[in-house]
């Protein structure tokens, strides 16, 4: 219609495209003596930001290896997954990544195997359950970084006020205790049940384990809508939600809300992990820790969670990465990180140190649960999609029709598994 505008537009577009071409060359291919490390932020303010930790590690490492440089990029937990995804998609792959999952990257053949980037000494130092959880089809890719196990936390003061002698062991005892707390008015929220998107996959699994259910069967097929799991949600709705013994909308209540309520003395009990210890202490809550109640008795193996380190082979810096990882997994560094956030170790020497130093008495119930911990199906490349779907809509199973919600999830999980 109009030649001049067409010409102007074309010129602009051509210039823009020219710019891309130039940009394309400089992007991605970084200097081979610079390692790019992307890590999740475990802190919640500047004074305990993980960036501080990693900068210090990088500095020490650079002191020992004058020819190498480490570029640290620490990203908020809420954003890290989508940001890493976009990085990979646009070819801006980090050399080393520390985050929550690894198997999806194995499916795209992006990672070095653990034995390619770790010295035998470092490898042997990992606690066996975790090394095993890092395997995909028999080869270890995921390198465990920190771990935690889950237990029941309860507020002793509230329990005393409500006349509860000891922490509940079975689901029925949970409901009883919650009823007592409610009728005595000792706490706003007798049982804090967070099924919101933040951590729905964790809370769900802790409850499903109590009824002998899990996410996958022995062959690794997803069983999200198994009868036992539907029962679990039905029980929760009838016994905790409907009588008003927990949040009115668990599906949109995030774990941080539950933790904050417990740390403020406003929740009677909940499932938690070691970080809650510090929060409870800060809030001057007199808390107790017990195994998570199951339908007929406390869980024999509780949920174990590990976060992972992985090395990308895109930039081909195998030797440099190996040097850095051996350094990062030294006892000194691991201990520093674990103690900074009150998390649990994944290496034997650090565990021995933490158990024997006497400084970590409050972690003992969590250490005990470590050897028998059950994990998410971490080695399944489709797990990240499944986990994201559970986070998004799994909590809705607490509402009127668990079979339907879980059924839809199961379908999505099967699609994801077929498509990996």
């Amino acid at each position: 219609m109009n030649r001049r505008v067409a010409v102007t537009g074309a010129t602009a577009l051509a210039m823009a495209l020219g710019l891309t071409a130039c940009g394309g060359d400089s992007g991605g291919g970084s200097d081979e003596n610079t390692l790019k490390l992307v890590a999740a932020d475990y802190g919640d303010k500047a004074s305990n930001a993980s960036k501080k930790y990693w900068n210090a590690v990088a500095k020490d490492f650079e002191k020992q290896n004058k020819d190498l440089k480490v570029e640290v990029d620490v990203i908020n937990w809420n954003e890290i997954d989508s940001k890493v995804k976009t990085m990979i998609q646009s070819g801006n792959v980090p050399d080393i990544l520390q985050t929550g999952g690894y198997a999806d990257k194995v499916a795209d053949d992006l990672l070095y195997k653990a034995d390619e980037v770790l010295s035998p000494k470092t490898r042997k130092n990992f606690i066996q359950t975790f090394a095993k959880a890092g395997e995909v089809d028999g080869d270890q890719y995921g390198i465990p970084f920190v771990s935690s196990t889950r237990n029941l936390f309860y507020n002793k003061e509230i329990f005393e006020k409500a006349g509860i002698k000891e922490p509940p062991k079975t689901w029925d005892e949970v409901a009883d205790a919650a009823k007592k707390i409610k009728s005595s008015g000792a706490a706003d929220t007798p049982y804090a049940l967070p099924l919101g998107p933040e951590e729905a996959q964790g809370e769900t699994m802790m409850w499903e384990l109590g009824n002998g259910g899990t996410y996958t069967d022995a062959s690794g097929k997803y069983t999200l809508d198994a009868k036992a799991n539907v029962e679990t949600f039905t029980w929760l709705r009838k016994n905790l939600v409907e009588p008003g013994l927990t949040y009115s909308n668990p599906a949109s209540t995030d774990r941080k809300t539950a933790f904050a309520d417990f740390a403020a003395g406003k929740a009677g009990m909940l499932n938690g992990h070691p970080t809650l210890i510090d929060m409870a202490k800060d809030g001057k809550v007199d808390y107790g820790v017990a195994p998570i109640p199951g339908k007929n008795g406390p869980l024999k193996s509780t949920l174990g969670v590990a976060d992972w380190m992985m090395a990308f082979k895109d930039n081909g810096k195998q030797e440099q990465i190996k040097k850095f990882l051996d350094f990062a997994f030294s006892k000194k560094n691991m201990l520093k990180f674990d103690e900074m956030y009150n998390l649990m170790p994944v290496t034997k020497d650090t565990l021995a140190e933490m158990e024997s130093s006497g400084k970590h008495k409050d972690l003992e119930p969590f250490f005990e649960a470590l050897p028998n911990a059950k994990f998410y199906p971490l080695g399944d490349p489709a797990w990240d999609v499944v986990s994201a779907e559970i986070k998004k809509s799994g909590g809705n199973a607490i509402k009127e029709n668990p079979a339907k919600v879980l059924g839809e999830l199961q379908k999505k999980a099967e699609d994801a598994a077929a498509n990996k």
Binding site: R4, T8, G9, T11, A12, L13, M15, A16, L19, D81, S82, V84, K85, T86, M87, I88, Q89, S90, D104, K105, A107, D108, L110, D188, G196, P197, Y247, S248, N249, A251, S252, T253, T257, A260, D261, A264, K266, P381, A382, D384, V385, A388, E389, K391, K392, S393, G395, N396, E408, A416, K420
Partner: protein
């Protein structure tokens, strides 16, 4: 923006470009015509607005793994996956409801506010300034503020309603769609009011006093004056308000993202928020959602062009 769009007949005849007497032949420096004047603007638009649109459309036809690796073309698969999603229909319906409710409420309340703040009263400047606060403050921060005020445990709005006896126990307003939608709409209206009210105030300023004088002499009552004179003369400003709000509210993201993240599930998501949720599981499906979103905006634009008579404007 909608430059000459909501024009009154008067201005259409002598609108900026339509100045017949203006020396149209006269050129810019060096006889390059419009190029030196408008090229930078066009360039910026192409580089930062048009290019990502192209990129977006391309992405929606790719098969991208969860880790972010491109595994070749997906054809229309991502679109069918999107349309098959059990939340999709609900999201579309709510997007329309959200946009209509928020825009109409904003326009109606703004009309009243503009009328009120156009009166003379002691302290008008300070009151007007207070009205501007939600506009000056970031929408995100305002939404986070409301989320905090609605907090079940310690939110001041819960406390206030308890003390006033409006509710008998503290409620989790944002936890369930039935109450989350109304509250988010309240916040959306709240942050849209200042701009809209000011646009209407500006419109009111352009109505000459002698028109009112004439009406008064004719013995018209205040309601008659309002419907007979003020409203019709306010039409251009009102249209601008409607259009800008339609676009803003339709695209609105920070409010819902900050307050519910679209949850539980996708029960409180509009298309924009849904697109963000999909990014977590399938970036190409998310791109497909963006393209659909884009399509809806294009339709909105076309309808607007049609209604405002853009094509009749001129024929250059």
């Amino acid at each position: 923006m909608p430059d000459q769009a909501p024009v009154s007949p008067a201005s259409r005849s002598r609108g900026p470009g339509g100045r017949r007497g203006a020396p149209g032949r006269r050129r810019g420096p060096a006889g390059l015509g419009p190029l030196p004047w408008i090229a930078p603007a066009v360039l910026l638009i192409f580089a930062v607005v048009i290019w990502p649109i192209v990129e977006l459309i391309r992405t929606s036809f790719l098969n991208i793994s969860i880790a972010g690796v491109v595994r070749g073309s997906a054809g229309f698969d991502k679109y069918s996956k999107l349309f098959d999603d059990s939340s999709f229909a609900g999201v579309l319906i709510w997007t329309v409801v959200w946009t209509l409710v928020v825009v109409s409420a904003t326009m109606l309340i703004s009309l009243a506010l503009a009328q009120l703040f156009n009166q003379r009263f002691p302290g008008r400047r300070i009151a007007r300034w207070a009205l501007i606060a939600p506009w000056a403050a970031s929408v995100l921060m305002t939404a986070v503020g409301f989320k905090w005020m609605l907090n079940q445990t310690a939110g001041v709005l819960n406390t206030l309603m308890l003390d006033l006896g409006l509710i008998d126990h503290s409620k989790d307003w944002l936890g369930t769609p039935g109450t989350a939608w109304p509250w988010m709409m309240v916040v959306a209206v709240f942050v849209s009011l200042p701009f809209t009210t000011y646009t209407l105030l500006a419109g009111l300023q352009t109505i000459p006093e002698d028109v009112y004088e004439a009406a008064r002499i004719d013995g018209a009552g205040s309601w008659q004056t309002y419907t007979g004179i003020t409203l019709p003369m306010l039409r251009p400003a009102f249209l601008v308000g409607v259009v800008i709000n339609l676009i803003n509210v339709f695209n609105s993201f920070p409010i819902i993202w900050a307050m519910t993240r679209g949850g539980p599930g996708s029960d409180t998501a509009t298309t924009t928020v849904f697109m963000f949720q999909l990014k977590e599981t399938d970036i190409a499906e998310s791109a497909a959602m963006s393209v659909v979103n884009f399509g809806m905006v294009v339709v909105l634009v076309l309808v607007f062009l049609k209604v405002s008579g853009w094509n009749k404007e001129e024929d250059a």
